[in-house]
């Protein structure tokens, strides 16, 4: 236990450092936003969250902080919704022997399927990691809801002209996500993705056998996510889908890559056929001169 509190302190220092770093980083992003889009931040530097389900006490302070910051009305729901961007759920095995909390929210994928699928680019990943939403572009087609493997984007179906609603990692908030700020435990940490991965792996190595498969969910799943999860119970048991390391957008990208070839190939082939068959028929192509 002595060991553990030491670790916590070290973690805290790291996080503080990371927090400061991200502050500088946001400022930097603002400056360079218009200048060049080529300067992509390395993945390790991205904003990220580490949720350690074994540390979560289910106090739901994070939910309240999220509601307060995003000015969302209180509601009684058991799932994410148009007015609930994050939610703590309790999972219990049937005999009650195993239980675990799970924090639901946008996973901020490294290569987000929602952003790839959005026909108008309303959803996109900003330079420092958060997957954000430009409501003014959205046409409400709901392809993002279909494409998201985590079922995150939500809709307010009672409205006639609804928008997509989801967690944006409080990307406008200088101190980072409100939920991580408030967490009284070591359950939710905010920092750079590289640092958080390191912390997560340290927790695993210090507590062998404590964490499911001794690995971090989100390091590789679906090409990686910026929300990393440690769990004491199987990931599937707390509703985390098993995903290939191949990013989901790769599945469509090849089909889109061959579109120019189809355009010129089919166009060219049709022109060639037209030329070849033109003289074979007796009927003149000139239409009626009325």
């Amino acid at each position: 236990m002595q060991n553990k509190s030491n670790l916590s302190r070290r973690e805290f220092l790291k996080i503080a450092g990371a927090g400061l770093g991200s502050l500088a980083l946001t400022a930097n992003a603002c400056v360079s936003a218009g200048a060049s889009s080529n300067e992509e931040l390395p993945l390790e530097e991205h904003w990220a969250l580490l949720y350690d389900a074994t540390q979560c006490s289910g106090c739901r302070e994070c939910e309240r902080a999220c509601k307060a910051y995003n000015k969302l009305p209180e509601e009684n729901v058991d799932d994410l919704s148009g007015n609930t961007f994050t939610l703590i759920k309790l999972y219990q095995s049937e005999d009650g022997a195993q239980k675990s909390f799970r924090k639901y929210q946008c996973m901020h994928c490294v290569d987000p399927a929602c952003a790839a699928s959005c026909p108008v680019g309303a959803l996109h990943k900003i330079e420092n990691g958060p997957v954000v939403y430009d409501a003014y572009k959205c046409i409400g087609c709901r392809y993002c809801m279909q494409a998201c493997a985590f079922g995150v984007p939500r809709y307010d179906w009672s409205l006639a002209y609804p928008f997509i609603r989801k967690c944006e990692m409080c990307y406008h908030r200088e101190a980072g996500p409100a939920c991580a700020d408030i967490c009284p435990k070591q359950a939710l940490l905010f920092g750079r993705r590289g640092d958080l991965l390191e912390i997560a792996k340290m927790r695993i190595s210090v507590n062998p056998g404590k964490y499911f498969e001794d690995r971090v969910y989100g390091e590789f799943e679906g090409g990686g996510t910026s929300v990393l999860i440690l769990s004491g119970v199987p990931f599937e048991a707390i509703g985390l889908p098993g995903l290939d390391p191949q990013p989901l957008p790769d599945r469509t990208q090849w089909a889109l890559n061959i579109v120019p070839a189809i355009f010129f190939g089919v166009g060219g082939a049709m022109s060639a056929v037209y030329q070849r068959t033109k003289n074979k028929t007796s009927t003149p192509e000139e239409e009626v001169k009325s």
Binding site: A115, S117, T252, I262, V288
Partner: protein, 377 residues
């Protein structure tokens, strides 16, 4: 200037028309309800079922049943197979109306329908839906151009007609190209949901299967509308045309069967077909009705020459395609159980009825039956 005989406008209205008007009005009412009141009271859509019957039927079926237009335009204008010319215009009309219906349905389905034009402005080249949207919109314009000659003839706008005819070949080629692109990318829409879609339907070949099934039903639809319109509007079904269309459909269906079975065999998932699950049975139904039965019919030499049997095969192909697309949109997808709301269905049925009425109106009032160069007055 050729004089065009104006059809006699019948004053009496048939029961069929009255039913269609009623259904269309009901659909319009449901659509109004959605635009004013929101989705909750009109649809059973939910966060885990964001796409319902409007996407699965109006879009996923509406687009391929309009494929007859590009299949026939290519056959006549590009492959120069002249015998199909008499049925080209009705096919182009069906295609154009079909795409209008698709766009109208999207205006009901989209959360922000007033922004449908955003797809033309905010491009996301990584999105198959962007490609679909772009192609559907440009192709609707192309179809309007392809279909416009009878309208311009009727209006007597000769110089514009001459211009449209002058650019007709590039326009047809563009139409075939755009069709190839979006008929297939309609299938690409689902490549990104391997985690949601049943393995019987999920395959990397979805775009190819969508394209080939669209071509097959393109033939099927032309057979169907040809027979129907000749029954309703008079005229004679040309056996030769019918047999040619049937051959095209048979070849395409054979190819489709080969791709589907081969793909499942390659993935080692043939066993799933006979798993006895709801999905497995729906898969059997879809392929039995839409592929195996029409192929079996058309393989019998006697039936291959018989117009009624060709019509039946075409009808089966059409039903099978509808099943396939509904299976893709609804049956294959994981999520909460979804049954379309009555008013959701009302929109779909209403739009369909409006389309049939528009088709009937155009068939009566525009010189569609024959191309003017063979038209005898």
């Amino acid at each position: 200037m050729t004089s065009i005989t104006l059809p006699v406008v019948k004053k009496q209205v048939s029961i069929g028309t009255l039913i269609l008007v009623f259904l269309a009005a009901l659909g319009a009412f449901a659509a109004m309800f959605r635009w004013v009141d929101g989705f909750s009271h009109v649809s059973n859509l939910s966060d885990s079922r964001p796409w319902g019957i409007w996407i699965s039927f109006d879009l996923l079926v509406g687009v391929p049943i309009s494929a007859g237009a590009f299949v026939l335009a290519a056959t006549v204008h590009i492959f120069h197979i002249e015998k199909y010319r008499p049925i080209l215009r009705p096919a182009l009309l069906t295609g154009f109306l079909g795409y209008l219906m698709v766009i109208l349905a999207l205006l009901v389905d989209l959360g922000q329908p007033q922004r449908i034009w955003h797809m033309l402005v905010y491009w996301n080249l990584h999105s198959p839906l962007f490609e679909v949207g772009m192609c559907v919109m440009t192709y609707t314009a192309v179809l309007f151009l392809e279909f416009s000659p009878p309208l311009l003839e009727k209006l007597g706008w000769t110089s514009l007609l001459q211009f449209v005819k002058k650019i007709s070949i590039p326009v047809v080629i563009l139409g075939v190209t755009l069709s190839t692109m979006h008929q297939s990318s309609l299938g690409s829409l689902f490549l990104i949901v391997p985690f949601k879609m049943h393995p019987l339907w999920y395959t990397s070949l979805l775009p190819l299967i969508f394209l080939v099934s669209a071509i097959a039903v393109g033939f099927g639809m032309v057979i169907f509308e040809c027979a129907i319109s000749h029954q309703v509007f008079g005229g004679q079904v040309r056996n030769e045309i019918f047999q040619g269309l049937a051959r095209g459909m048979l070849i395409t269906l054979g190819l489709l069967l080969l791709i589907k079975v081969g793909d499942l065999a390659y993935a080692g998932e043939l066993g799933l077909i006979f798993s006895g699950t709801f999905q497995g049975n729906m898969f059997i139904l879809e392929n039995l009705i839409g592929i195996i039965l029409p192929i079996a019919i058309l393989l019998v030499p006697k039936f291959r020459k018989s117009s009624p049997w060709i019509f039946r095969a075409g009808l089966l192909t059409l039903l099978g395609l509808i099943l396939y697309r509904l299976n893709i949109g609804l049956v294959s997808m994981a999520g909460e159980p979804y049954v379309p709301h009555v008013l959701e269905l009302a929109v779909t049925i209403g739009l369909f009825s409006a389309g049939i009425m528009a088709f009937g109106f155009a068939m009566k009032n525009l010189p569609l039956e024959e191309d003017p160069c063979t038209h005898v007055h």
